[in-house]
């Protein structure tokens, strides 16, 4: 990290902004853990708690944006300070969206509560959530410690989330073809999985922003993309 600004109040504001992102990131991680827990135990109260907490995350995003705009207006930041503040606005928006997906997951708890359980895919959802939680956790660590290696690692790990999603997609199709009773729960699980997959994309975006803050350049490598579900098909002839 480079040395301090002559205006120490500017450093204080920057640190405060970063601290807010960290708090927000940790909260979003919690949201996924709680959503998953609610899904597994069909816990309506916990799901409700997730929905309430999401409003708090939305508020944090608004506050971060306000403070960043205030700093741009008053401090006229340039170079790495400018990249930092502008990227923070985008990171905050990304986290807010990742949080929305967790809320969406929790919302479905009430819907699939009474439906037939699909046990195998819950294991896949479990893995996806574990993966996404560690991605959020690591990308926030990378952001705070300015660790590009860590950011690139998160960026690469999105592929794993995509792979899990593809497996789950295929599995759900099989379930649905097997027994129409599975259609409703399988569709919900598909949406859940798709949401987590999208959350992974946003975490990847954040990793790219961390890289940009540090290097002043966009991450030039080709983005890992393994979501092939659009083209997935089950051969019914067999």
């Amino acid at each position: 990290m480079s040395q301090n600004h002559i205006l120490s109040s500017f450093d204080e504001e920057l640190n405060d902004l970063r601290a807010q992102i960290v708090t927000m990131g940790r909260l979003v991680e919690e949201q996924y853990k709680n959503s998953l827990q609610a899904l597994k135990t069909k816990d309506k109260e916990l799901a409700e708690k997730v929905r309430k907490t999401d409003r708090l995350i939305d508020e944090m995003d608004t506050n971060i944006e306000k403070q960043a705009i205030h700093m741009i207006a008053l401090r006229s930041p340039v170079a790495d300070d400018l990249r930092d503040i502008v990227s923070t606005i985008k990171i905050s928006a990304g986290l807010e969206r990742i949080g929305d997906y967790a809320k969406n997951l929790a919302k479905r708890v009430t819907v699939i509560r009474h439906k037939k359980t699909i046990s195998v895919s819950s294991a896949l959802i479990d893995q996806m959530v574990t993966q996404i939680v560690s991605m959020i956790s690591d990308v926030i660590d990378a952001y705070i410690s300015r660790d590009i290696e860590k950011a690139i690692d998160v960026w690469r790990r999105d592929q794993m989330v995509d792979n899990l999603y593809n497996s789950l997609f295929r599995e759900m199709l099989t379930y649905m073809m097997e027994n129409p009773q599975y259609i409703t729960p399988a569709t919900h699980l598909l949406f859940i999985a798709k949401n987590i997959e999208r959350a992974g994309d946003h975490a990847t975006n954040i990793a790219e922003l961390v890289y940009y803050i540090n290097e002043g350049e966009l991450l030039a490598l080709k983005r890992p993309k393994n979501d092939s579900s659009n083209y997935a098909d089950i051969n019914t002839e067999e």
Binding site: S2, I6, S76, V78, A79, D80, L82, R83
Partner: protein, 264 residues
């Protein structure tokens, strides 16, 4: 054309001013150390850096203003359109007609507004008759954005104008003799934000006809008006490049520390 393409094109065009291995000394003090800089035509080049870094000294060597300081001497080469401006055959008065200058504090002559602008064209014999001179005065005041404000009082003293108007009068005086290059040494440091904005708008318009080099302590001003920025530090150029690049992603740590307001 986008900014990157514009600046890339600038790099291909022959520079108007080229400084090669320039060293300037004030007595024993080594003020400018081995500076090399190409100044592109019809563009604004900003010189930035902390106080005492040598940016004004360097600016003043482009029209040999440093010649007037007895203890000052220089080595190296400065060319204007390929011609060595320190060559013995060069007439300094003619050189300064080609390389005009605007200073930090507006310094109109204690004469009428009209005479302030007409002075240069008169001594350089640029006007054949009174109508020609009237036209030059009109055009210069028009280009400097002052005409509408002063057209009814051209015979009043230039010194009676406001600070911002005086500075625009000095710019009108400079462009009246149709220079190639205009050097500006902190032209807005004594002006309020509105007058500053008007001068900056003027600089942007003037760059269509003139090559402009501006020394400024305002980072934002450099960012707003220039296409190229050179960062001076302790008599050396530490970084020179496209303004948009310098202000978003400076390559040199000292440049970054300076423009972001860190201890340097």
């Amino acid at each position: 054309m986008d900014k990157a393409a514009e600046t890339a094109l600038m790099d291909l065009i022959e520079p108007t001013v080229r400084a090669t291995n320039v060293n300037i000394y004030y007595g024993e003090t080594h003020a400018i150390k081995d500076v090399n800089l190409d100044i592109s035509p019809k563009a604004v080049t900003a010189l930035i850096g902390p106080s005492g870094c040598g940016k004004s000294t360097f600016l003043r060597c482009i029209n040999r203003m440093n010649d007037t300081i007895p203890s000052c001497h220089m080595t190296g080469k400065v060319t204007l359109d390929g011609q060595d401006i320190y060559d013995k055959k060069i007439d300094v008065v003619q050189l300064r007609a080609r390389v005009g200058m605007v200073f930090q504090k507006p310094n109109p002559f204690p004469k009428s507004i009209y005479d302030n602008v007409a002075y240069g064209p008169r001594i350089h014999g640029l006007a054949g008759n009174d109508t020609d001179l009237d036209n030059i005065v009109f055009n210069s005041l028009q280009k400097s954005g002052l005409w509408e404000e002063v057209k009814d009082r051209l015979d009043t003293p230039g010194t009676a104008l406001s600070g911002g108007q005086q500075q625009r009068l000095c710019i009108a005086r400079t462009i009246a003799i149709n220079p190639e290059v205009i050097l500006m040494d902190e032209p807005c440091s004594a002006l309020d934000p509105i007058a500053t904005a008007i001068i900056e708008e003027l600089i942007t318009e003037l760059k269509e006809r003139f090559t402009i080099v501006i020394v400024t302590h305002s980072m934002q001003q450099a960012a707003r008006v220039s296409q190229k920025t050179a960062f001076f530090h302790m008599g050396k150029i530490l970084e020179f490049g496209d303004t948009s690049e310098i202000f978003t992603n400076p390559k040199v740590e000292k440049t970054k520390d300076y423009i972001t307001g860190r201890y340097g």
